[in-house]
């Protein structure tokens, strides 16, 4: 619930903090460089400027999207695939900004495996987490080079990370280069990447995105606007000052490896906005393409209307 | 308080134990039960205590049927049944505790009389067999009930301690005249203590004989050496022998 209704006649406030509106943003995973903008906005007081008192929460297990949909938190860091699936199940959640303009994920493999393009997947072992989406993506990629997905061995590796898998005879896995890829380079392990975006436009979906629920949009649009404005400013800062932004993230989450954060931040700085006219911009065709692709591959059950799944209306206008 | 039992029947599964038991204890009377091992004496106590229900028959206290009613008698079980996590003193007040605030002063006095003054704070596992039995006996005495059912209370005591305890029990009984029902295997003990003696047959038990003990009170141990005593004892022994040898 939003706590904007303060009891009137409350005793004197210290430096006006009581006027701030309390909102909660739920992360999708542990804090990482995808979230830098939020931490910057927090640390540099951008949220406060917008009259918000933001609490950043790490949910651990799944369910962050439902939390926001049910109104127990106002904002969530989610991803396009999740929102698409959620909306077909009538979960009222809407994307309000794309954190990173293009999909930076891809299939990573140690160089000595010699996997340079999807056709090299043949005869190899893929380690995943058992989602039907994975197989569909692999198939799509391999089809572009007329490779046969049947010749690929897909192993369910559960929650194991890339490095663990690599140790267990698994040839390649799906990672975000901006985090796991950077870690590999820090370790001096050379890896090959096969990016999704290089082979299929439809798979260039937004991940991650900021999202909220429909009720917030209809009943508290100004809060949403304020939040997006501050976040946008935060990400802008991260784009312009990756080193400083990395320091802010490391300060907020000292448990993270500072070197990894810094390197990841530097790599990601120009990926946030990339070729978009402004940070956070989302395109209808991206939403439509990906949903179509999901339907084609039988991983989407039910009706999905891409127009209602996202909105750019809260993004600050040029020069705002 | 008087106890009357009419036509009591009880069996455990296929095994008949009590058959047509009729028995009275008048107010302030001291009644002993003798009978072969395994005849059903302890079972009778369980019925009186309300722990098990008879197939038929009634148990009356002061004329009122009390089949299956608990908490009306003071009881000393055949095995001491002390609580291992309670000290001797805490054990003896247990029965009293169930009804009221126990009188520790009195408890200490009785322990002293039973030669257990030094063991007040000992745990049951530090006691000898006979000492446990005495603790259990005192617990029954302190229970403050008008009917006392004692199941072989002195079986683990040496002859002299036993005599002391018997005399003590008699003096207590003479002072406040509770009704006492007393199971024993010692014919001497039954004759020395009781007003009347019931002799149980072997299982399934019925009342083989009821004997009025003719000796006047107060009694002392010289009684045990009189010829009348000896003759009565012989007679009872004969009854018991008949029961077991057939």
């Amino acid at each position: 619930q939003s706590n904007e209704t303060q009891p009137a006649g409350n005793t004197a406030t210290e430096n006006g903090k009581q006027q701030l509106e309390k909102v909660t943003v739920v992360l999708d995973w542990t804090p990482n460089t995808n979230h830098t903008g939020l931490y910057v906005a927090q640390e540099n007081g951008y949220f406060e400027e917008q009259g918000l008192d933001v609490e950043i929460i790490q949910p651990g297990d799944a369910g962050a999207d439902q939390l926001v949909a049910s109104g127990n938190a106002e904002f969530v860091v989610s991803y396009q695939e999740g929102i698409t699936l959620a909306r077909t199940q009538n979960v009222p959640i809407v994307s309000i900004a794309a954190v990173i303009q293009h999909n930076t994920s891809g299939f990573a493999s140690p160089v000595d495996k010699n996997i340079n393009s999807p056709k090299d997947f043949e005869g190899k072992v893929y380690g995943g987490w058992g989602s039907p989406i994975e197989e569909a993506v692999l198939e799509t990629l391999m089809n572009t080079e007329n490779a046969d997905v049947e010749k690929l061995d897909i192993v369910n590796a559960g929650n194991a990370d890339f490095f663990t898998m690599a140790n267990q005879g698994i040839d390649f896995a799906w990672i975000y280069y901006g985090w796991t890829g950077i870690e590999a380079s820090l370790r001096g392990e050379e890896i090959n990447m096969v990016y999704l975006t290089d082979y299929s436009e439809k798979l260039d979906y937004y991940t991650p995105v900021l999202a909220t629920n429909e009720k917030m949009i209809s009943e508290h649009p100004e809060t949403v606007k304020a939040f997006v404005a501050a976040a946008s400013k935060g990400y802008q800062f991260a784009i312009e000052h990756p080193e400083d932004a990395a320091k802010i993230l490391s300060k907020a989450a000292p448990e993270l490896d500072a070197e990894l954060v810094l390197e990841s931040q530097k790599w990601l700085a120009d990926k946030y906005q990339d070729d978009a006219p402004r940070w956070g911009e989302q395109k209808l065709e991206v939403w439509k393409n990906y949903a179509d692709w999901m339907s084609e591959n039988g991983v989407l059950e039910g009706e999905f209307n891409p127009e209602t799944a996202f909105t750019n209306q809260f993004l600050p206008k040029e020069g705002e | 308080m008087s106890l009357a039992i009419h036509q009591l029947h009880k069996s455990f599964g296929e095994r008949p134990v009590l058959e047509d038991i009729n028995l009275q204890v008048e107010n302030g009377e001291f009644v002993a039960i003798l009978g072969p091992s395994g005849s059903g004496k302890s079972t009778l106590f369980q019925l009186i205590g309300g722990l098990v229900l008879p197939e038929s028959g009634t148990i009356e206290l002061n004329g009122e049927a009390v089949n299956g009613k608990k908490g009306l008698i003071g009881y000393m079980p055949q095995t001491p049944s002390l609580f291992p996590w309670r000290t001797v003193l805490e054990n003896v007040v247990l029965a009293a505790e169930l009804k009221e605030k126990p009188d520790y002063q009195e408890a200490r006095r009785l322990l002293q009389k039973a030669g257990l003054a030094d063991y007040e704070n000992a745990y049951p596992n530090e006691l000898s067999g006979g000492m446990k039995q005495r603790v259990s006996f005192i617990r029954a005495l302190l229970s403050n009930q008008d009917v006392l059912c004692l199941d072989e209370p002195f079986s683990a005591l040496d002859e002299f301690t036993k005599l002391t305890m018997q005399k003590w029990l008699l003096s207590i009984w003479e002072a406040n005249r509770k009704s006492i029902l007393f199971i024993t295997h010692s014919i001497d003990e039954a004759l020395f203590l009781a007003d009347r003696v019931y002799i149980f047959s072997k299982r399934p038990a019925h009342i083989k004989a009821e004997i009025k003990v003719p000796f006047s009170r107060p009694r002392d141990e010289n009684l045990l050496e009189t010829t009348e005593f000896f003759q009565l004892k012989q007679q009872i022994f004969k009854y018991l022998k008949e029961e077991i040898s057939e």
């Binding site: 990482n32 790490q58 949910p59 939390l67 490095f163 000292p254 990894l260 | 908490g71 003071g74 996590w85």
Partner: protein
């Protein structure tokens, strides 16, 4: 007393031996840090990062203790309640078992939706973990009362309540402590798990963060403290048991 300290000593000596073995193995096989750090590396990190870690530790200790107390309290009450009301027991006991089979991934969002991000949902998760062993162990303890003592109390006219409090409960104490020991062991992990429900601090938070940035040494620092806490709690319960169950070590011969 000298005995107790010696016993601890033997276990600690053995643990030290294991650590040395581990250190040697890691060094000899040149296992990379990110796979399995050597105890020395963990120790170094623990010392270096203790300032940061301290707050997390306190927060988890607080959660674990609170959850243990609440969970065991509720567990004991539940056991007493169910044992003394057999009719209710028949109906509710299956629910007690069911309560142990709600996966956290389902429970977590529901709890947050109902109770927000505060202390309450976390407490519920820990309590849920801690309460079950107590319930089962206590109920079994109550049921196994020495029949001759129960027979005596019944004959003496004790009410059900008196039988329970004077006999069944004290008699079940060792079983209850057995359950308590299991619960205490689980409480720390329970607290760590409960921190999935959106905690800001705590060993669980620290550990996932470390894990996601591939700082395996920090993960192990967290594990060490989790283990230390559990063993400590277990030890404390055992000490309390020794005091509470005193005087009947040998029972009656």
């Amino acid at each position: 007393m000298p005995k107790i300290s010696f016993r601890g000593g033997s276990a600690i000596a053995f643990l030290l031996f294991l650590f040395v073995l581990w250190e040697l193995l890691v060094r000899l096989t040149k296992t990379p840090m990110w796979l399995l750090p050597a105890p020395s590396a963990i120790l170094t990190e623990a010392a270096a990062g203790f300032g940061d870690f301290y707050g997390h530790l306190l927060s988890t200790i607080f959660l674990a203790l609170l959850g243990l107390v609440v969970g065991c309290g509720i567990g004991l009450l539940t056991a007493i309640f169910l044992y003394r009301l057999p009719k209710v027991n028949e109906m509710l006991y299956p629910l007690v078992i069911l309560s142990q089979n709600i996966p956290t991934i389902v429970l977590a969002p529901l709890l947050i939706i109902w109770f927000g991000f505060g202390l309450l949902p976390k407490l519920i998760v820990i309590s849920l973990v801690c309460f079950f062993p107590i319930v089962v162990a206590s109920m079994d303890g109550f049921r196994q009362t020495a029949p001759e003592l129960k027979h005596y109390l019944n004959m003496a006219g004790a009410t059900d309540k008196q039988i329970f409090w004077k006999l069944e409960f004290p008699h079940a104490l060792p079983s209850i402590f057995s359950g308590l020991k299991i619960s205490a062991t689980y409480s720390v992990m329970g607290a760590v798990i409960s921190e999935w429900l959106g905690a800001k601090q705590g060993i669980g938070v620290y550990m996932t963060l470390a894990q996601s940035s591939f700082r395996v040494d920090r993960v192990f620092v967290a594990i060490f403290f989790i283990m230390l806490l559990s063993v400590l709690l277990f030890g404390v319960i055992r000490m309390i048991e020794k005091l509470a169950v005193k005087g009947r070590k040998a029972g009656n011969r």
